[in-house]
């Protein structure tokens, strides 16, 4: 097909697209190389602070990373979730794909795996992510993802405790707002 090779990715992250494209069209890289190195560009550039270190702090102010890589030829998958203290999430995912028979490693154990594979432990917190977390706390922890707890999570920070399903005001999902700068 004359339009191939082809790279597409979500959002306007053209530096990532360009890196993947160069690997496929000029450097003889594989499609796995293209995806890994393309996504790694966004991890280094902290694309919109939605990828990589220093973005989307959790309620404790920690940034954790999720990544996946899938090989169409073999249907093999490597993935990491809630990866702590390692910046190169997509490369760790590729190591899961290439060096294990598992699909998904999570949390601190994923970090241990990464370190055993030669990745460096680093602090994923930055002044920017600290400011995001401080601002959220100053706004009474709004928005957040709690429901059916006390104190009222729509006005108060935690710690929270569950309320009975028989209590008035029991709710289903009231989704916090996702947008261009806050997404999975």
């Amino acid at each position: 097909n004359p339009s191939l090779p082809l790279v597409i990715n979500t959002w306007h992250f053209t530096n990532a697209t360009a890196r993947a494209w160069a690997l496929l069209s000029e450097e003889g890289g594989s499609v796995l190389d293209a995806v890994e190195q393309g996504c790694a560009v966004c991890e280094r550039e902290q694309c919109d602070f939605t990828v990589g270190y220093g973005g989307s702090p959790d309620e404790n102010g920690e940034t954790t990373l999720d990544a996946l890589i899938m090989d169409g030829a073999t249907h093999d998958v490597g993935a990491v979730a809630a990866l702590r203290q390692v910046k190169d999430a997509i490369s760790v995912a590729r190591h899961v794909l290439q060096y294990t028979e598992h699909t998904l490693l999570v949390g601190s154990q994923a970090t241990e795996f990464a370190v055993s594979m030669g990745f460096k432990l680093e602090n994923l917190t930055t002044p920017k992510s600290q400011e995001m977390h401080r601002s959220w706390k100053e706004q009474n922890c709004q928005p957040n993802f709690w429901k059916n707890v006390v104190p009222d999570p729509s006005t108060s920070c935690g710690p929270y405790a569950p309320v009975s399903s028989m209590a008035s005001g029991w709710t289903n999902d009231q989704r916090a707002s996702f947008d261009r700068y806050n997404h999975d």
Binding site: P2, S3, L4, P5, L6, V7, I8, T10, W11, H12, T14, A16, T17, A20, W21, L24, S30, V31, L32, A34, V35, E36, G38, C39, C42, C47, F49, T50, V51, G52, Y53, S56, D58, E59, E62, D66, A67, L68, I69, M70, D71, G72, A73, H75, V77, A82, A89, A93, L104, G107, W136, P143, F145, D173, R175, S177, F178, R180, H183, D184
Partner: protein, 136 residues
């Protein structure tokens, strides 16, 4: 989040995702990005798809898998993207998210819901590196 699909000149395909997830999430929460069929999915005989948005919802309805299966049924990447999002919207009308899909013959398309705008990035032999605007 970035979700990417790559197809080489021989039709080999892969996909990947990388994200730091939702802002202010409860510690330990994981979204759709590391879940096959949700954050992204590829099939060597069909094509691939990658999704972005509210990962708590997407991981319940596997939009990337659905889009690839719709392409297998003969729908275009744009149609398949819309249909996979509609599956989510049926349950979550206020869902905020988007999906991009590509078939092995080089066609591509996207769909979105709840965002004011959505762009995806594209590189192919005809256009070089560019962006595509999708109306939500």
């Amino acid at each position: 989040t970035i979700g990417m699909i790559a197809i080489d000149k021989d039709g080999k395909i892969s996909c990947g995702t990388s994200t730091n997830g939702a802002r202010n999430k409860i510690p330990g929460r994981v979204g759709d990005s590391p879940i096959p069929g949700s954050g992204c999915y590829v099939d060597r005989n069909v094509g691939g798809a990658a999704a972005t948005g509210d990962g708590d919802v997407m991981m319940r309805l596997l939009p990337a898998l659905i889009s690839v299966e719709k392409m297998r049924d003969g729908y275009s990447p744009e149609e398949a993207s819309r249909m996979s999002l509609q599956r989510i919207i049926d349950y979550y009308p206020n869902f905020e998210g988007a999906i991009v899909s590509a078939s092995l013959d080089g066609r591509h398309g996207g769909a979105c819901n709840g965002f004011t705008t959505f762009q995806y990035s594209l590189a192919d032999s005809e256009n070089g590196v560019t962006t595509v605007d999708v109306s939500c």
